[in-house]
Symmetry: C2
Subunit: 153 residues, 2 copies
C-alpha cells in the first residue's frame, strides 16, 4: 500500500521538477499584462523535444509496474484543472514507490530515467500537455511487480 | 481592423502548428487507458527548451506592435479551457496581420521567427503552458505600428 503525499517542489526534487505558477522566478512581461513564471522545467533530451496531448482515462488505483525513459525527461501538465496522481520510485521496486497528489494547477516533469507509473487520473478523464522526446533508440524500460500495490488516497 | 478567423491547422500552417487532440496521429498507450495525440508540435531551438507558465490578463483588443523570436519556436497551451486570440503576420506590417480565435482546447506553436502579438486573453485572465527557448543571444525583435489596429471579434 502507498500513502499519498502532497506534491511540493521539495518533496519531488529527487524525481524532477514541479510545474506550478509562483514557485520559482516570476516577472511581468508584455507591458505588465502577462506574468511569466519562468523555466519551471527544462527539457532534457539527446534528440527532438515534442509536444503531445495525452487523454488519460480512469483506471484502478493500483501500481503493478513502473516505467522509465532513459533518453529524456517527460513533463505532464493537466489541461482541465483536475487533481491527478503521480507515482515515482528511485529504484524500480514496490518498497521504493511514492505517490503524490498533484492538484489541478500542478504539472511536473520526470527527470531523465526516473521510474514512474503511467498516467493516473482520478475522478474523470483528463487531458495533459506532455513534453517529451522523439528520436532513435529505445526510450522505454518497464518493470512488473509480482503483487500490485494499492494506493491509499 | 482585423477580422477574426477560426483557428485550424490548415489556416495556421504558414505560422506554425496547432496543438489540439485529434488533428494528428493518435494511438492508445498504457494498456488502453491513455490516448496519445503524438507530436502535435516539435520545439525548434539552438539552445535549451524550457517550460514556463504565463498568466495573461485582459487588455484592450488592439494590435499596436508585433514581436518575433528569431532563435526558437514558442508554444502556448491554455490551462483553463477558455478561448483566446492569436495575431500573426508573415511580415511585420499592419496590413499583413491575421487574427485567429483559439478555442479553449486549442494551443499553438509559433514557428521560429514568426511575427505575432503578445498573449491576448478574452473575458478573464488565463494561464498558459509555454514551451520556448532559453539560451544566449537576443531572441526578441519588436516592430511598432503608427496606428493600432482594432480586432473585430
Amino acid at each position: 500500500m502507498i500513502r499519498v503525499e502532497p506534491l511540493t517542489a521539495a518533496a519531488f526534487a529527487p524525481f524532477g521538477q514541479v510545474i506550478e505558477a509562483g514557485i520559482g522566478k516570476s516577472f511581468d512581461i508584455n507591458d505588465g499584462f502577462t506574468t511569466r513564471h519562468h523555466a519551471l522545467a527544462r527539457a532534457e533530451t539527446d534528440a527532438d523535444v515534442i509536444l503531445s496531448i495525452f487523454e488519460g482515462r480512469t483506471r484502478p488505483l493500483t501500481v503493478g509496474m513502473l516505467e522509465c525513459h532513459p533518453k529524456g525527461s517527460q513533463a505532464f501538465v493537466p489541461l482541465n484543472g483536475r487533481d491527478w496522481l503521480a507515482v515515482v520510485a528511485q529504484t524500480p521496486e514496490a518498497d521504493a514507490c511514492r505517490a503524490f497528489l498533484c492538484k489541478g494547477h500542478q504539472g511536473l516533469q520526470y527527470a531523465t530515467g526516473v521510474w514512474h507509473h503511467p498516467l493516473l487520473v482520478l475522478e474523470q478523464a483528463q487531458g495533459f500537455l506532455v513534453v517529451d522526446r522523439d528520436g532513435p533508440g529505445e526510450n522505454l524500460q518497464e518493470v512488473f511487480f509480482d503483487q500490485p500495490l494499492e494506493i491509499m488516497l
